[in-house]
Symmetry: C2
Subunit: 311 residues, 2 copies
């Protein structure tokens, strides 16, 4: 039997924690926490007004995500805050980021920080410290369980992140084949293509970070918008958990994602941000209920898929 919530005192392995949460909740749905200020419900007056400070807007963002976390924390394995929108709010935004990460953890959710960082040597180590391992005085609850990283600079830029994961048991999703239309421009160049080369590197990077569940804590970002590549990259990276953006708002549907999961949902985590955060509420429906309903609709779509579970 798997315990539902992540035991934060146990020696952690990201892949195992993810596997456990996904199997227990029987769905691979990831709620992307993108605070598009203009799309937030009307009750958040600071983000819709014209004279609020950034601190007031950031407070609205925290209150909004409090409601979202409350609405989905017993339904989905994980959330994915998107750093850019928080950073746009300056210092107050980074404070809000830490609050949202902490509250997600307290609700039992895994937190995947969508930060897409990438740099070399001691700089990469500083990013790993910022998001995964912390320093003296960092509240561990404000750190992520896993972050997204960019491989453009090569293996020596990934190494400090791998070291941080070995030390902390945390995880990484490496950008391999992104969901945007322009992703082909560089990612499909060459033979093997850049994304195939990165995929092969992901396999190597993940070798020392295997969980007991059979997956590694080093995963890959592969867009829902490329179903053929999704199947090919799954064969190329059989042990890598996939983070799959581009479902819903960007076009890809659930059935097309079947090849990503392997024999059970733990192989892939499918992100939806706008589709869950900003649904059209029915007359009289509270926005939190609309958020929960949107998450349930997505979950049902995946539970209806014909996968062969391992247990």
């Amino acid at each position: 039997m798997y315990a539902l919530a992540v035991d934060r005192m146990a020696p952690m392995n990201f892949a195992d924690n993810l596997f456990r949460r996904v199997l227990e909740l029987r769905n691979p749905c990831l709620v992307g926490l993108d605070p598009h200020l203009g799309k937030m419900p009307a009750e958040f007056e600071a983000v819709h007004g014209s004279d609020a400070t950034r601190a007031e807007m950031a407070a609205d963002v925290v209150r909004f995500f409090d409601g979202v976390i409350d609405a989905v924390s017993d339904l989905v394995p994980a959330v994915k805050p998107q750093s850019a929108f928080f950073e746009a709010l300056g210092v107050a935004g980074v404070e809000a980021w830490e609050e949202v990460v902490k509250k997600s953890h307290q609700a039992g959710l895994l937190v995947i920080g969508d930060v897409k960082r990438g740099d070399i040597g001691s700089t990469a180590a500083a990013y790993a410290q910022a998001f995964l391992t912390g320093m003296r005085g960092t509240d561990p609850e404000t750190l992520c369980d896993c972050i997204t990283i960019n491989p453009y600079l090569g293996s020596d830029s990934i190494e400090p992140f791998l070291e941080a994961c070995k030390e902390s048991g945390k995880g990484l999703y490496v950008l391999v084949r992104t969901s945007n239309p322009g992703s082909a421009e560089f990612q499909l160049q060459g033979d093997p293509t850049l994304s195939e080369l990165v995929a092969d590197a992901v396999v190597g990077w993940g070798q020392d970070l295997m969980g007991e569940c059979g997956y590694s804590s080093v995963g890959a970002v592969v867009g829902a918008t490329h179903p053929t590549d999704l199947a090919a990259l799954r064969k190329r990276m059989p042990k890598a958990p996939f983070l799959i953006p581009g479902y819903g708002a960007q076009g890809g549907g659930a059935a097309e994602l079947t090849p990503a999961f392997g024999p059970h949902f733990a192989g892939g985590l499918v992100n939806s941000s706008r589709g869950i955060l900003y649904p059209k509420a029915k007359p009289g429906q509270h926005w939190k209920d609309a958020v929960r309903e949107a998450a349930e609709t997505m979950i049902a779509e995946f539970r209806a898929l014909d996968l062969s579970p391992v247990n």
Copy 2:
């Protein structure tokens, strides 16, 4: 005649401002502001102690860079704060980042934010807002004149940054060929190589952002550690300002960089971080004097190069 300090009220074009500063100061030296806490002078007790809070350490970082800015602001055209080290200090670190950017501007320096961000659509737009254009309530002095970005996701991930530059007159340095040993792993794959493809894209991205000086506000990061590629990439991107890391600490010398500059220093900005921030002070010498001397030594090495100036 060029005015020495950037006129922050004039409609700005990053390439023109950079060109003006570089020609006036007759050197292409860029001081990288990387707060390696352990390397800072002994007088900064919070970063060396074992019981300081992150806010106390961040205050030391601001005080240290106050001294550095004071020591070099009349010598060099620009500084390059490295975001990772600030982010590792959490909210207090981001507060320190804004302070350091603001003080650099107030000292007349151009500020290149080394953030290496990259994402798609509205997320890229949020990063541009965070660092280049700001939102309601952002102090414009805390924004950068230019940032580094990562091209892995393709042209549609660059577009929002280009839009932000058209609106604000600011600039970008795109990662093309980085200075680290592992950069060949992906950047030299294919024929044309990935870095050649990105270089060709940089030319296109920069076309609508040309300054009167003949350079574009869209530049390229090309490492000092690859002198042959530096010459070839200069031919491939004749109008792109280069940001050149890897001088000194990482191995490349001044003479090897000649091909990067074209007919004058404005073609390239050469970064030194540790070599200038953390020199060995002579007995009795104040650390700020050692910092200034290190900058002067680097400047002299470049002024000694045989370039044909345009004026």
